[in-house]
Amino acid sequence: MAGHLPVPEQIPLPLPEVQERRLRLVRAGELSPRARRRRNRLVAFGVSVVLCAGLFGVVAFHVVLTQGQLQLDQLHDTADAQQALYDRNRLLVAELESPERIVKVAQERLGMVPPPDVTYLSPTGIKVETRGGDEHTATADDDTDPTSTSWPAVKAHLAGSR
């Protein structure tokens, strides 16, 4: 049986590719693409080096800081230990100097005994004129206040120690 054949589809032929040529003006001194790529690589490398150096620097700085902190802590510890030692020695000296201990040692260890009676030899007082005009008896400590004379010697090595 004669059939009615379908009309074959017409497939359009592909057009030949036409490569577009882009032309532009080249400025004087402009790098070629290759040179540009090389430059970019150099820049990237440089940035990497700077970054690495920076990081290294940060780490180094941190290490130095940590070492400094450690040294500072050690110094603080040493100062505290020395201060504690000083305080203990100060206490020890004060205890050794206490009149009660001295008397105890004198009597118990050295066998000393208090005299039954004490006789003092006293010179006659010398009258001196004071600023107010009234007379009074001169004494060894008239012009010297015990605190003002002996204190600086004691306090000098205490000052700022705490």
Partner: protein
């Protein structure tokens, strides 16, 4: 051949799945949307609404605040010798969470720390991160604990207060609590100056507790407390306590008080307070709990006569050589007062009255003065008000308003009964005489020293005139007669002129007086010509009740030591003014050693409510 249809048969599965997937996607989107909203909401809450709370939580995990305790200021004597100082000591603590075997640890620690094993076991078993095991232990204990190598047991530094001279001046210096807060004495009075300001160290730590070197760090240094330079002299303080202690034992007193001062400056050079439990206790006198020299009042007795006579002299009612006919007893209202010893009517000068400590003579002078003027002078001499020392617990003393005086008050008050004073108040009155009539406020602190060592002297003590210089000189001469030939001869010091007055007063007890209980006093100063030292000695219930017998010798011992210590030479010998010479020295000497049995109200015609005031 049938042409192939290009349309496919509908596939029911695909048709059913498409809308379902869409619904699920929408649902999933909705759920994600809700979750996202929740997360965003939470973020807003955390970051926007209440960020502080979470910042604080974060900081608490990273940051650690360390309180730096301020060093408590030391106390020095006037020559810079340590009287009280603070030294760091180790405190043993534990973290029970890190203690592997609490009972074994408690067993090992108990004999070292001297803490009960059960108590330690309880502490080490608690659900806590920190418990104290023993506070402020010495280095030997620390070494022993370290040897045990116990897990979870650590040490920390805590300051501890020490008094290197032991109990010396203990009641005066006071005590501090476990946390070094002043509880009594100067420690309490100068708490603000001594304690300083704690500092703070804030550091950032890693999860292992190590400090992060470049982390947050802030440091506020502790401000140490000021040191106090006291007016006390350690050596004189020791001698004062020693002399007082010896006399307390010798006289079998219940205790005693002694104060030594520089009358010119008001500086207290020593202040001793001792208690004695009697010979049977087997213990030596020990420091009283309170600084009774400043905090306890007592009836002064005859030492108060100085004020009565000074007031009469100042008012021009009498002169040192004014003669009065003095009987041995006198009725005042419904009470008969008597002198210590019976005697015929005597023509005594005012100086005689002072030297013999005549009650009747003094009452006669007091009556001339009148209650208003007498009360005014008592107050001018500093009685009835605080001394200005500022010591904790210092009372004003007791002075009755003249409007409330009874009929017999004009008999009792002039001779030192019916009023109460502190030992320091009475010594101030004697200092006023020593200073030519000027009262100088007492002081205990000579200077303060800050953490840099800068010394700031305390201002000079305020002073005010009470009586004229002439009156003071007249009283001074009378007081020298008391020591030369009167009731206070035991206070004499070879080479020096001592001025002073004895006093023997009954102890008040339940509205009356305690039978046989007396307070014996001696107050005076030396050298009389130019007083450099003044002192008062009070003995509580001595077996021999007279101030002239028990307190005066202590005065002499202490004053003699003080004269050597401060290198005070004796003055050039001076003659005693003729107008103040005693006219009846024999009577005074006899009165000084009269037996106590003569002190009675036997001469009174009818029973009285109070007994005869003793000397």
């Amino acid at each position: 051949m049938a042409p192939r249809s290009r349309t496919r048969r509908p596939q029911p599965q695909v048709r059913r799945r498409t809308p379902d997937v869409r619904r699920r996607l929408v649902a999933l989107l909705a759920v994600l949307g809700v979750l996202f909203t929740v997360v965003v909401g939470r973020l807003v809450m955390i970051q926007g609404v209440s960020p502080d709370k979470y910042v604080a939580v974060g900081e608490s995990q990273r940051l650690r605040d360390v309180v730096l305790p301020a060093g408590r200021g030391a106390m020095f004597d006037r020559n810079g010798r340590d009287l009280a100082l603070t030294i760091p000591q180790k405190t043993v603590w534990a973290n029970p969470h890190l203690v592997t075997d609490p009972l074994a640890a408690a067993k090992a620690l108990s004999p070292v720390l001297h803490v009960d094993e059960a108590v330690l076991g309880d502490r080490l078993s608690r659900d806590a991160g920190f418990v104290y095991l023993a506070r402020k232990v010495d280095d030997k204990v620390v070494a022993q604990v370290e040897k045990l190598h116990l897990s979870g047991v650590f040490f920390l530094d805590e300051p501890k207060r020490f008094n290197p001279a032991g109990d010396l001046a203990g009641p005066l210096l006071g005590v501090v609590g476990t946390d070094n807060e002043g509880l009594s004495g100067l420690e309490l009075q100068f708490e603000k100056k001594l304690k300083g300001t704690p500092g703070e160290l804030r550091v950032e730590r890693d999860p292992y507790g190590n400090e992060i070197a470049s982390g947050d760090r802030s440091f506020t240094p502790a401000q140490p407390g000021d040191d106090l330079v006291l007016t006390i002299d350690r050596s004189l303080q020791y001698e004062t306590e020693k002399a007082l202690s010896e006399e307390i034992v010798k006289s079998n007193s219940k205790g005693g008080t002694a104060i030594v001062m520089d009358p010119k400056t008001g500086e207290i050079l020593s202040m001793a307070n001792l208690t004695y439990d009697g010979a049977d206790s087997g213990k030596a006198p020990y420091p009283s709990i309170n600084n009774t020299a400043v905090t306890s009042v007592y009836e002064p007795g005859s030492v108060n006569k100085v004020i009565t006579i000074a007031a009469a002299l100042e008012e021009g009612l009498v002169a040192p050589d004014t003669t009065l006919a003095v009987p041995d007893h006198l009725r005042v209202a419904d009470h008969v007062f008597s002198d210590h010893d019976p005697h015929p009517l005597k023509q005594w000068t005012v100086t005689d009255i002072m030297a013999t400590s005549s009650n009747i003579g003094t009452i006669m002078i007091g009556k001339q003065l009148g209650k208003t003027r007498l009360d005014a002078y008592l107050r001018k001499f500093g009685l009835g008000s605080k001394t200005g020392l500022g010591f904790p617990g210092e009372p004003r003393g007791l002075l009755l308003d003249p409007k409330k005086w009874s009929g017999t008050s004009i008999g009792t008050v002039p001779i030192g009964q019916g009023l109460a004073v502190t030992a320091l108040q009475m010594l101030d009155a004697y200092n006023t005489v020593a200073n030519g009539g000027v009262l100088v406020t007492p002081k205990l602190v000579k200077a303060t020293v800050d953490g840099e060592g800068t010394q700031a002297p305390t201002p000079a003590s305020p002073r005010r005139r009470v009586v004229s210089e002439k009156t003071a000189d007249q009283v001074k001469h009378m007081l020298t007669e008391v020591v030369k030939v009167g009731t206070g001869t035991e206070a004499a010091i070879d080479g020096y002129t001592v001025a002073g007055k004895t006093g023997t007063a009954r102890k008040p007890y339940k509205g009356g007086y305690k039978q046989g209980a007396y307070l014996a006093t001696f107050a005076g100063f030396v050298p009389a010509e130019n007083p450099r030292l003044s002192a008062i000695v009070v003995l509580d219930e001595p077996a021999q009740m007279y101030g002239g017998l028990v307190s005066a010798p202590v005065f002499a011992k202490v004053a003699q030591y003080g004269l050597r210590l401060f290198r005070i030479p004796p003055p050039r010998p001076q003659s005693t003014p003729a107008d103040t010479k005693i006219t009846d020295p024999d009577a005074a000497k006899t009165a000084d050693v009269a037996p106590p049995s003569t002190a009675s109200t036997a001469t009174t015609a009818r029973p009285t409510t109070t007994s005869t005031p003793p000397r």
